[in-house]
Symmetry: C2
Subunit: 252 residues, 2 copies
């Protein structure tokens, strides 16, 4: 059985997220599994590095699948992209070691949330950023972000009410910047993200940016371990899975 690793890039606008759900094929995983299976003449299971919510995009998602069929990499990649809808591209296909697993071996992930903070929304960003016409206080957001970095119990930032496993995660860094066109990017790098976590962190930081939540409340929100204390779940269309990191040894 050869193990194949893929890098995937997708515009999530028209999908119900990464993960296959029952019979619905309107998911990224579903589309990719269908077309690989169709090309190989054999069903495959595609393991992603993790789920992305409905409407969330990915510039760099990683997945792997096993098959006994011989794959001529270049022509297979071309044929697969030819068949996939235009909002999903497989940008790379490589042979991985048998032990490589896109989810289990991932050591960290990077998400970026984009906010169009210009007074007048940019039509070309409308599907890839959240428009907030009022200028956000970036300094306050950065101070709040600093309190979120590190190992914490992120229960207050978890969208799954019935989460039974540990909600402790480590955020390595949160970088917030604003470019000359008033596009704000909030980059989160962490060892793992709970359900909706990047979006709830964003909703909370936005509330800090509009002074609805004082910076000093962040510690209380973390300590409270209660979803109701944090800000709202920011809309999915501003969020991008930007990268998935592996230790070199686990990939090959």
């Amino acid at each position: 059985m050869a193990n194949h690793k893929m890098i995937i890039r997708y515009d999530g606008t028209n999908y119900s997220g990464w993960q296959k759900q029952g019979n619905t094929t309107n998911t990224i995983q579903g589309k990719i599994e269908f077309h690989i299976g169709d090309l190989l003449g054999e069903a495959v299971e595609v393991h992603g590095s993790g789920r992305t919510d409905a409407g969330v995009h990915a510039k760099f998602q990683v997945a792997n699948f096993f098959t006994n069929k011989l794959i001529e990499r270049d022509s297979f990649l071309l044929a697969l992209n030819e068949r996939l809808p235009k909002d999903i591209s497989i940008t790379k296909l490589e042979t991985a070691t048998e032990r490589f697993h896109a989810r289990l071996n991932a050591t960290s992930k990077t998400y970026v949330y984009y906010i169009d903070n210009a007074k007048i929304a940019d039509p070309f960003r409308r599907k890839y950023s959240l428009h907030i016409g009022t200028p956000l206080n970036i300094d306050a957001m950065q101070s709040a972000a600093a309190l979120l970095v590190g190992e914490h119990d992120f229960k207050s930032f978890c969208g799954n009410k019935h989460m039974k496993k540990s909600t402790v995660r480590t955020i390595h860094s949160i970088n917030i910047s604003k470019d000359e066109s008033d596009l704000i990017s909030i980059e989160y790098k962490g060892n793992g993200f709970l359900y909706n976590m990047a979006r709830i962190l964003t909703g909370t930081l936005i509330n800090v940016g509009i002074k609805k939540i004082p910076v000093s409340d962040i510690t209380k929100i973390l300590e409270g371990k209660n979803r109701k204390l944090a800000g709202p779940t920011a809309f999915p269309h501003g969020l991008f899975l930007e990268n998935v990191e592996y230790t070199k040894v686990s990939t090959f």
Copy 2:
């Protein structure tokens, strides 16, 4: 009668172009006229700097309209953007001199055509660039472009078969560049563009880039004054109206 000048930015994907056509309101001009009229309670005519074809985008289109009604600029702009569909934004509204006319006073225009020249198409560029998976020969395209710059009869590059007026135009510059992500941009600056001209120029330069048209043929194509000699009309979705230039004196 006060004369109002607007800067407009639009994603042309879902429109039948700039220009109002009979009863159809699925045009940029139609949408803007409708909402301004609705807000003012009086019909207005919006004069654009020129038409853009169905599916062509604009980062900077200029238009003007006259009204007797008093306009409180900031709140009017906010209300207008609130009502317009999200793929059209009015980014600026200013009072112009009575003599200002967006089309008649324009001295030159800049169009940019984007080509995604990466082997695998980028899902996020699919609506804003033409994907060509084969690497184009930029040097050859630049040599061909140099032959197109200047004052010429562009009849071979005019999509209107029944054009009775002069087809002589001046192209001030054509700049072709390719960035590290293999996005090619072809920037055309000229004193005026015939129907489909930017797209036919692009189709011709692409054919030069894939060696279907030798550079030396460009002069023959110009001299032949026959649409059939030039390349195809490139798809509209890669084209952006990037700027409209005026002499300072004409604007205010």
